[in-house]
Amino acid sequence: MRIFRIVLLGGLLPAGTLFAQDATNLEDGRKVAGMCRTCHGLDGKARIPIAPHIGGEPVDYLISQLRAFKTGAREHEMMTVVASGLSDEQITKVATWFNHFTIEATLPTGKTEDDAPQLCVGCHGANGISELKDAPNLAGETNIYIETQLKAFRTGKRTHDIMSPIARDLTETEMQEASDWYSKITIAITDPTKK
């Protein structure tokens, strides 16, 4: 049995240097995150299946999605309500807060990185930890959440230069297989400032 464990320190991502994670910024971000915690958890580990895990998420991705909800480019009955009331500064701070967590992903017993959906691994990693600044982690998300997003890219409810064309060509089975792969990965989210 081989278990892969990859640890990604959110704070070491390039964007981290733009938004210094000093104590004040983090504290401000934590306060904004009070309005996120019922669904996403204060540590970014989702409490409800319809919400993604955002602890340790790339900061650029978090900022771009919050802005998309705010402008209406991306719509969701809850997130549209939340993001419409956020200032750019609040968006940056809350993104910095959730980014500062460490996420650790563990593949299911008996699986190796070779089993991962090859179309996805370049950006989202075999273990669902993002390889890019503007791609989300997928590790441990509910499979139906991932499928819903793929369908949103396919129908044009969400648009993205890379994801829109990929989703357009996926079969239902391919969507289910990719979603199932990432949903079965176990995650642990920890706060590196509290050691």
Binding site: T38, I48, P49, E75, H76, E77, M78, G85, I144
Partner: protein, 417 residues
């Protein structure tokens, strides 16, 4: 042997239904033809242990009226709506993920002994809403499909169960309108023997350009169909997102909860319990955001329908979800025909409200008054220790409450003083 005989008799009884409907994909097709899928393994959920102890500790702080007790009934991950088997053998619990759980109390000590996934060879999608007919047919309303499982209380012990389409994949709503939130369907069999299914609309406030399509399909409404899927009609209009309904035990009229508009402030609009007295009534969404509060999006517009106002206004944003009329004999007489309902708890109110079980008393004139019944799932820091979703009655007259945050079923019983 018994099982095979039963299989055969069911095959005879419903073969007309099965053949009348379009072929279903993958394993459903096999199960509809009483074939084996080769699936042999269940996912079993550990009962007891540290996790259960943590939940029991939370339950120590739950406040109930005098004489009532609460205890952990089962650990059930992501537990949503509940269907208690009419024979009292097994209880099915839906989720907003891909599993339905079967919960069995074998030794009848009123605590479940076994929790395992139901029909593990099937891939469910948001199977939030299970419900039973009085003759033991289990129905499961998913995101965009409704299945039926004859004699589910008998077959659930095997990984392969008899399963049939009532509404095949993609026919409950147009696939282009599928979403994840506001997609927790609930179902009940009405006194007319028809299947009633809620269809939440997927926006905060439904936009104008969708209204015609939604009205046609009953999205933002409650539909009813025959149990073979035929004669679909929209029974209820003007709903935002109803996730709980039940029929009054005496009048047979439909009562249902509704979740109201977000983003208008902490204290408006109110949540609702509605009382429907005729087919086709309109309850106000999207012109009304809850109670008589008009939505900003439709402010000043003339409301094109006669609107029925709620029977009960509940505290804003508390998220009233599952409900059941109490018909048992265990609780004191005043609870007979009262509504037990679950408030899931607010998600973005400054100070959280809800996360409790409510009781609504209805007088002879139909006037309804709501009050808290079980509360204490919000701690002193405003953190949720649990979020109740649905309430159902066991045959002994006690009630069980599902909680999708803790992942549990609780049982509430009456001991007297």
């Amino acid at each position: 042997m018994t099982k095979r005989l039963l299989m055969a008799s069911i095959a005879l009884a419903i073969s007309g239904t099965a053949h009348a409907q379009a072929p279903a994909p993958d394993n459903l097709e096999k199960l509809s033809n009483f074939q084996s899928t080769g699936t042999t393994e269940f996912t079993l959920i550990e009962q007891g242990g540290d996790y259960a102890e943590g939940i029991k500790k939370t339950l120590e702080r739950i406040k109930l009226p005098d004489g009532f007790k609460i205890g952990l009934y089962a650990v059930v991950p992501d537990a949503r709506h509940i269907a208690v088997g009419p024979q009292g053998v097994v209880t099915f619990v839906g989720t907003r993920k891909d599993k339905v759980w079967s919960v069995t109390d074998r030794n009848k000590d009123r605590v479940a002994d076994e929790v395992k996934d139901f029909a593990p060879s099937l891939r469910f999608a948001i199977p939030n809403g299970p419900c039973f007919s009085p003759d033991g047919m289990l129905y499961i309303a998913e995101q965009n499909r409704v299945l039926t499982f004859p004699a589910a209380e008998f077959f659930y012990e095997s990984p392969d169960v008899a399963a049939f389409n009532v509404v095949k994949q993609g026919d409950l709503i147009p696939p282009s309108e599928e979403s994840y939130n506001h997609t927790a369907r609930v179902c009940k069999i009405g006194p007319d023997g028809k299947l009633y299914i809620s269809l939440g609309q997927p926006f905060n406030v439904a936009p104008e350009n969708k209204l015609e399509l939604y009205r046609k399909h009953g999205i933002g409404g409650i539909i009813r169909i025959n149990t073979d899927g035929s004669d679909r009609e929209v029974y209820t209009y003007g709903v935002r997102n109803s996730v709980g309904h039940d029929f009054h035990p005496e009048t047979g009229e439909l009562w249902w909860t509704d979740n109201q508009v977000d983003g208008m402030g902490d204290d408006i609009p109110p949540g609702e319990i509605n009382h429907q007295t005729a087919a086709g009534q309109h309850f106000g969404h999207p012109w009304y955001g809850g109670g008589d509060v008009r939505t900003n999006e439709y402010a000043g517009q003339e409301v094109p329908y006669d609107v029925v106002m709620p029977a009960v206004e509940t505290v804003a944003h508390a998220a009233d979800l599952g409900m059941t009329f109490y018909t048992g004999k265990m609780f004191p007489e005043k609870y007979r025909n009262a509504i037990f309902s679950a408030q899931h708890g607010s998600w973005n109110r400054t100070t959280p409200v809800g996360a409790r079980v409510m009781v609504t008393f209805i007088d002879a004139d139909g006037n309804a008054a709501i009050e808290p019944f079980a509360e204490g799932w919000i701690d002193e820091n405003g953190e949720y220790l649990g979020r109740p979703v649905d309430v159902a009655q066991l045959r002994d007259g006690s009630i069980i409450v599902s909680d999708d945050l803790a992942g549990a079923l609780y049982r509430i019983w009456y001991e007297g003083n």
